[in-house]
């Protein structure tokens, strides 16, 4: 405990001193300006992070502390009981929350992951054709695919439900994944089309000189170079898939396929799950996309801004 504390304070001191040095340097240049910038930065970070911090704070304390007024701004006492009961450790499991959450997280991973893989594979081939090859109706097809970006995603909700129902696919992974892929493809095509266009043609031409077919050139030369663009399309497709709610609310009916968003909404609707537990569930449901976004944020920035400035 003390060792942890000392290590923690050493880190804190190190962070403090770097921050202080940076601050001093900034202040020495243009004091009023630097203070203004720091305040702006603090406000932006507070706005962006406070709700997330608040969920962590509540999930890490006891129900009586969370339900006390005025609010505690740091978790005191700091306990892991909420997470223990969500994971069902030590026999404190609550109404099967742990099994529901575990299974729905797995479902989310399968659905978002499956949609991501299928979207990227289909989009790489199609975007390459749009960017590099000549064929009839190319412009018409390209424009009509991108036009679906301007339509609301839910425009097709009811017919998609009825199509899946008539095929007997309601409450299957396949239905969810197919619907996601059809929704994510236009954006993935747009990102990859722009990325392929930024790659010099000379790279493939060198491969052609060596006798490679266009397909071989795509797989051996273009795809490796386009990895940042492919990563951008992939991470964005995965995040979009993980966040879906209305489509799975309609297309899935039980725990065998319901993703974590549907389960979190259902638990929240029961109004009997304590807020400490609810926040622990929320933190766990947001953990995968949150960590991915923090690690891969430069690909997200690249993907989101692809071609938007034209």
């Amino acid at each position: 405990m003390t060792a942890d504390y000392q290590a923690g304070s050493r880190v804190a001191r190190a962070v403090d001193s770097t921050a202080a040095r940076g601050l001093a340097r900034a202040l020495s240049r243009r004091p009023a300006h630097a203070v203004g910038r720091l305040i702006t930065l603090a406000v932006i970070l507070l706005w962006s992070l406070f709700p997330i911090y608040w969920a962590l704070n509540t999930s890490l304390t006891t129900l009586s502390a969370a339900d006390s007024t005025p609010a505690h701004y740091v978790p005191s006492p700091l306990v892991g009981t909420s997470y223990r009961s969500v994971f069902g450790i030590g026999g404190v499991s609550q109404d099967g929350i742990s099994s529901q959450l575990g299974r729905s997280l797995l479902n989310s991973a399968i659905e978002a992951g499956g949609a991501m893989i299928l979207t990227v594979v289909i989009a790489v081939f199609a975007a390459y054709a749009f960017a590099r090859l000549q064929f009839r109706f190319k412009r018409t097809i390209f424009v009509s695919v991108l036009a679906t970006l301007l339509l609301p995603a839910y425009a097709t909700l009811i017919p998609l439900y009825r199509i899946m129902a008539s095929l007997g696919l309601v409450n299957t992974y396949i239905a969810v994944i197919l619907v996601y892929v059809s929704g994510f493809l236009p954006l993935a095509i747009w990102i990859l089309y722009n990325y392929f266009n930024s790659i010099p043609r000379e790279l493939e031409e060198a491969a052609f000189v060596d006798g490679a077919s266009p397909m071989r050139a795509l797989l051996r030369v273009v795809v490796p170079v386009a990895m940042p663009g492919i990563a951008a399309a992939a991470i964005i497709a995965f995040l979009l898939g993980w966040a879906q709610f209305l489509f799975p609310l309609v297309l899935t009916t039980d725990l065998s396929t319901q993703p974590v968003t549907v389960i979190v909404a259902a638990l929240n609707q029961q109004r009997i799950v304590p807020f400490t537990l609810m926040m622990a569930c929320g933190v766990l449901a947001a953990a995968v996309p949150g960590v991915l976004a923090l690690i891969l944020n430069r690909y997200i920035v690249e993907g989101v801004t692809a071609g938007s400035v034209k």
Binding site: T69, I141, R162, G290
Partner: protein
């Protein structure tokens, strides 16, 4: 010869999976919605029959549907204005290089990356009338005398607070789009303005604003499409009560709770048409002004 044929066929082979997906799961359903909106479709009470504009008339005779349209207009107005203004402010504040800028950007993007359902559940706890931190913080700052019930009592307050949750989620997107445009502006322009004696505000108005207008248009259209179709946040924070209901929520209720598929189709068609018309109109408006500003 066969290689030549293969080469000619290759593009079609490469785009065919895309065409199958978009055709079967986007175009066919869109056409289906357009057609079925004029039919009486009740899965539990057949038969299905042509009703002309019957579904639409029933929608406009329903006060709850009218309420949801007015509510949605307010969601859109708040959502577009707030996310574009905040997004521009964040973009301006974070556009230049500084220490830890990468970390700050990663943190700012976070609300965009998380599921809106989870975010809405978190905000419902923040807005909680008895134990919520909003009441507690405002009371500590002496901004309010007693605790308020934020959601479900006052219609406009409920809508505004629900839209805050969506604005919180989509603002990073606007910020990124506008920041990319700001960064593509040549520093020479600002330098020239500085030499001519223009202050920071003047150079923002005369240089940045005209040049980022296309990006602002894109951000505004994104916010428009998302807020016109707001569902998750309303479902969690308002439930299916008419008070804060949105058109998309009403579409869901009509279709999957009342099992009136025809009504759902009609409402869905109206939302789609409204989204397409408004977004194209907004794009045209903002783009034309850009050209005017540049020339």
């Amino acid at each position: 010869m066969s290689t030549r044929l293969r080469r000619q066929l290759l593009p079609y082979i490469l785009v065919s999976p895309l065409l199958v997906f978009i055709g079967a799961l986007s175009f066919v359903p869109t056409v289906d919605t357009t057609v079925e909106a004029f039919f009486r479709v009740m899965p539990l009470d057949p038969p299905t029959a042509f009703t002309g504009v019957g579904n639409f008339r029933a929608l406009f005779d329903n006060p709850v549907v009218i309420t949801s349209w007015v509510n949605t207009a307010v969601y859109v107005a708040i959502g577009v204005v707030a996310s574009v203004v905040l997004g521009t402010a964040i973009a301006v504040a974070l556009r230049r290089r500084f220490r830890f800028r990468g970390v700050v950007l990663a943190l700012v993007i976070l609300p965009w990356a998380l599921p809106s359902v989870v975010e809405a559940v978190i905000w419902s706890w923040i807005y909680n009338p008895t134990f919520g931190v909003l009441n507690s913080a405002l009371k500590s700052l002496h901004a309010i005398g007693g605790y308020h019930v934020w959601l479900g009592l006052d219609r406009w307050l409920t809508i505004a607070l629900i839209e805050v949750v969506q604005v919180w989620q989509i603002t990073p997107l606007s910020a990124l789009i506008i920041m990319a445009a700001l960064q593509s502006i040549s520093p020479d322009l600002y330098e020239a303005a500085r030499v001519d004696g223009a202050g920071p505000l003047a150079s923002f108005r005369r240089i940045s604003l005209p040049l980022i207008r296309p990006a602002v248009a894109v951000a505004a259209v994104e916010a428009l499409v998302l807020s016109l179709n707001i569902f998750d946040q309303v479902y969690i924070l308002n439930g299916i009560a008419p008070l804060g209901s949105s058109v998309m929520l009403q579409t869901y209720v009509t279709t999957f709770e009342d099992l009136n598929f025809g009504g759902g189709y009609a409402l869905s068609l109206l939302v789609t048409a409204a989204t397409a018309l408004l977004s194209m109109g907004m794009l045209a408006l903002l783009y034309r002004r850009t050209e005017g500003a540049v020339t």
